[in-house]
């Protein structure tokens, strides 16, 4: 069989380099079916590795300014061109359908804001200040125009003023006139004044009274950190106590329900995590518990050791947070709905995440596979536990079987680099066969598993046979036996 037509399967660059000689070689022989398959695999390889064709890069005929522009600048030019085109198309549609109602301005305004953001990010001016300014102008010009054309009620003053305060602080910071703390304080002062004005206009001073103390608390914390060189954890602890007290006061003013417990509990978990790091319960030296775990890695390079040690320390912090978080959840569950154990769901999900983290840390050669395995096993156990303790079951078997199938696929791809396709087919086929039998047994009707399992395994045998015939490594491996 003449196989020269199969040259068409190869990429153009490859054909330009090898096509003539490859064709001449194919003309010299009758290609077998195995040869056709081999050529097809060769073509796939040539597409996957274009650099092997060694073709000289095609010289661009684009104008000089275009070739000199960076990718993001070219993208902006393309976007701007599309924007102009979009303007024309939408205008024509608008005029052709509802000429009295110029609705096309709204999508163009929204699209224009996106274009302004992109322009600011592409042509940086004083960091991100250019992007901030372009967005501010585009957004507020539109808002003021809408306000003026819809009764001129004057509401556009609020976004213009609020975002203007942000822009002012950003600008002073960007031009180096003030430092970060001063920008923060200025922003808080101007926003506070604006909130009081809003409260007076709206006849409700509740909003400024509730928000300004928190804003001042943040400014105070920033001041202590910047000018008093205060310890970060102590500042956090003070902010937690003061913030919790402010929340409790607000709640007391309103009366029940006592909602302040929820943010305080959530914040307490963060403070606890900070305390762990601050008290150096997780130490960054070789005498720590994580350093002892690292003893098993002593044969590895120092860089790898340090990196692994930091992974282990991160895991310890996560485990501590998990413990505090689960206790908090249990207390909340008992206080609110003692008959309904809803905390099992977040605790189970968190346990699976923690186990995945542990798998990631302790399988350094295959971190993602370790995370998949440990997270999947822990998640499956959590699901079985929840399934057993809730009345509407059993259902946990379904997500567990789904995970088992995906994990098998993941493991085969990660662990069998040489016979990747065959290993994937073999392991996934095997697990799927077992799962089909289980599904057949636990569902009414049947038995029907025989036919799909037979089909799956016949495909597997065919794949094995093809590999044994055509794969050089497989042939050598078989000969060894």
């Amino acid at each position: 069989m003449n196989a020269t037509w199969m040259l068409n399967l190869y990429p153009q660059d490859w054909r330009m380099r090898y096509g003539d000689e490859f064709g001449a070689m194919l003309e010299q022989q009758d290609a077998s079916f195995a040869d056709l398959l081999d050529i097809a695999f060769g073509a796939v390889d040539a597409h996957l590795r274009p650099e092997l064709s060694g073709a000289a890069p095609v010289r661009s005929t684009a104008p000089a300014f275009w070739r000199a522009s960076a990718f993001w600048q070219r993208l902006l030019v393309v976007h701007a061109g599309l924007y102009v085109l979009g303007c024309i198309v939408l205008l024509l549609i608008n005029l052709a359908t509802t000429p009295t109602n110029l609705w096309f301005l709204y999508p163009l305004w929204g699209w224009g804001i996106a274009l302004a953001v992109q322009s600011g990010l592409t042509f940086r001016w004083k960091g991100l200040f250019g992007a901030d300014l372009a967005t501010y102008l585009m957004l507020n010009v539109g808002l003021v125009a809408i306000d003026l054309t819809h009764g001129a009620a004057g509401w556009s003053i609020w976004p213009v003023a609020s975002l203007g305060i942000l822009l002012l602080a950003h600008g002073l910071l960007a031009f180096g006139n003030i430092n970060l703390f001063q920008a923060h304080a200025l922003l808080t002062a101007l926003a506070g004044i604006e909130l009081i004005v809003v409260g007076i206009v709206a006849g409700d001073l509740g909003i400024p009274l509730r928000t300004i103390p928190f804003a001042l608390l943040l400014v105070g914390a920033h001041y202590l950190l910047r000018y008093r060189r205060a310890n970060l954890f102590r500042v956090h602890l003070v902010a937690f106590v003061a913030g919790g007290a402010l929340l409790a006061l607000e709640n007391l003013a309103d009366g029940p329900p006592w909602w302040f417990v929820y943010p305080v509990v959530a914040w307490s978990v963060l403070v606890a995590a900070h305390a762990v790091v601050h008290a150096r319960l997780v130490r960054f030296d070789d005498d720590s518990a994580s350093g002892q775990v690292m003893a098993s890695f002593t044969a590895r390079s120092r860089t790898v050791q340090v990196s692994q040690q930091r992974h282990i320390q991160g895991l310890f912090v996560h485990a501590f947070l998990f413990g505090v978080g689960v206790i908090d959840l249990a207390v909340l569950n008992l206080l609110t709905t003692p008959r309904l154990p809803w905390m099992l769901w977040p605790a189970g999900a968190w346990a699976a995440l923690l186990a995945a983290h542990a798998g990631f840390v302790f399988l350094p050669r295959h971190r993602l596979l370790g995370a998949d395995l440990a997270g999947g096993v822990a998640g499956s156990l959590a699901l079985l536990l929840i399934d057993a303790t809730t009345p509407s079951g059993p259902w946990a078997i379904w997500p567990i079987m789904g995970w088992a199938l995906l994990f098998t696929l993941h493991a085969a791809l990660a662990l069998a680099p040489r016979f990747r396709l065959l290993a994937t087919h073999f392991t996934v086929g095997l697990v799927l066969s077992v799962e089909l039998v289980i599904v057949d047994l636990i569902t009414p009707g049947g038995p029907w598993f025989f036919w799909p399992v037979l089909g799956l395994n016949l495909l597997l045998v065919l794949h094995l046979a093809l590999t044994a015939i055509f794969n050089t490594h497989a042939r050598r491996w078989l000969r060894a036996f």
């Binding site: 490859w14 090898y18 000689e21 490859f22 195995a34 040869d35 398959l37 695999f41 390889d45 064709s53």
Partner: protein, 100 residues
């Protein structure tokens, strides 16, 4: 030579070119005779392209459509090193078998 699944065909190509330039079809025939191995056309050119990219072989100027290739000095050195390692392995293996 880290050529993945093309390591074995690449070795056969280098051995085939060790006694002089050859074109693709001649390399296939040589591999069949010397090593009783059939290299498919797609595999042959995938391996040739990798060897050429690494500078281990180079095309010889020719008027014929069938492009001959030859070993470069670095290709000859790489083949020599590889075969020396294999010879050492073979010697060790045979010695150990003989010692049983």
């Amino acid at each position: 030579m880290d050529l993945g699944r093309f390591a074995e065909p690449a070795l056969l190509i280098l051995i085939s070119l060790a006694d002089g330039p050859k074109h693709g079809y001649a390399i296939m025939e040589d591999a069949r005779e010397v090593a009783n191995q059939k290299i498919g056309p797609g595999t042959l050119y995938a391996a040739l392209a990798r060897l050429e990219q690494r500078g281990l072989i180079e095309p010889v100027p020719s008027e014929d459509r069938r492009q001959p290739y030859r070993l470069t000095p670095s290709g000859a050195a790489a083949l020599h090193d590889h075969l020396s390692t294999m010879r050492s392995l073979v010697t060790t293996g045979l010695d150990r078998l003989g010692a049983q």
